[in-house]
Symmetry: none
Subunit: 146 residues, 2 copies
DNA sequence: AGAGCGTGTATGCATTTGCAAACGCACTGG
DNA sequence: CCAGTGCGTTTGCAAATGCATACACGCTCT
């Protein structure tokens, strides 16, 4: 666990920096961090905080997320569908609510896939979920799913 | 710039946690951080590192990026991808399914808005949903609904 | 009354971040 | 030759992170 882990964040930064043909001092200046510290970061001696990473990303003109992913701070998942991505990115709902939406959506997809295979008409395939029961009582006079 | 910026990261975490109806200790356990520290983080006394943020995000079941954006660690000019827009644009689900998702999402929003205003008046004190029953497979990763 | 369990909060301390200053090394050119 | 720059690295040291422990408050039993 102490070992620097090959695909380290520091290596990535240094790689990006040398590729950009700028010196350690220059990048440090642009990023607003101290050069010695940046040196240590690049060699894996120090592990920078998120703020420092963000500033370094700015200095390197690369997306912060690229750095976070490299640093293992974001569990980069597959692109997934737009709906799932949107749900996951939504900050106005709670984690559990998010999980519910994801589960329902995926169940729909699965349902449709099965229906697609057979010739059957799943217009009303026993409606596996009862939306009203999800938040206790129907939010607005219940859903009238025919 | 030094001032804590009202919509602080700590406030956001606490908001998400209370809305998820879990205690500080529970979240700390799920996130793998110490409860006292989490308390300080929520009150803005301490500023968590990226790793801690990532773990908290995991514990909250929210995307790490959402937290980073809130913490100002990602400039994020991504249009916050609207969930409703994504749902409406999805062609792989039926109109009825679409309607269900939209209704549920909006009910969540409404619910949260109410909860946000009051201290905490849950529409459902206990665990209202049984996600596993929706599609059978319990979402791996220790998603332990009582 | 307490004992018990739950919550969130303060305190002490090892470890770490992040910086300023000093260092060694290579390349200039006056 | 050796002052002047540039580079990256090492060395203390204040400040912060993050944890374990202990604390204070609220609630429910018996």
């Amino acid at each position: 666990m102490e070992l620097p882990k090959v695909g380290s964040i520091g290596e990535y930064i240094r790689e990006q920096r040398t590729q950009a043909k700028i010196s350690l001092r220059q990048l440090a200046a642009q990023a607003g961090v101290s050069f010695p510290y940046l040196s240590q970061v690049e060699r894996g001696v120090r592990k920078p905080s998120a703020e420092i990473l963000n500033q370094i990303a700015k200095g390197l003109r690369i997306s912060s997320q690229a750095l976070y992913v490299q640093a293992g701070l974001i569990d980069e998942r597959e692109p997934e569908s737009d709906v799932l991505a949107a749900i996951r990115a939504d900050v106005t709902i709670t984690g559990r609510q998010r999980q519910v939406l994801v589960d329902i959506y995926e169940s729909f997809r699965k349902e449709n896939k099965a229906a697609e295979k057979e010739g059957a008409q799943p217009t009303q395939p026993a409606e596996p979920l009862d939306a009203a029961s999800l938040n206790g009582h129907a939010t607005s006079e219940g859903y009238n799913l025919p």
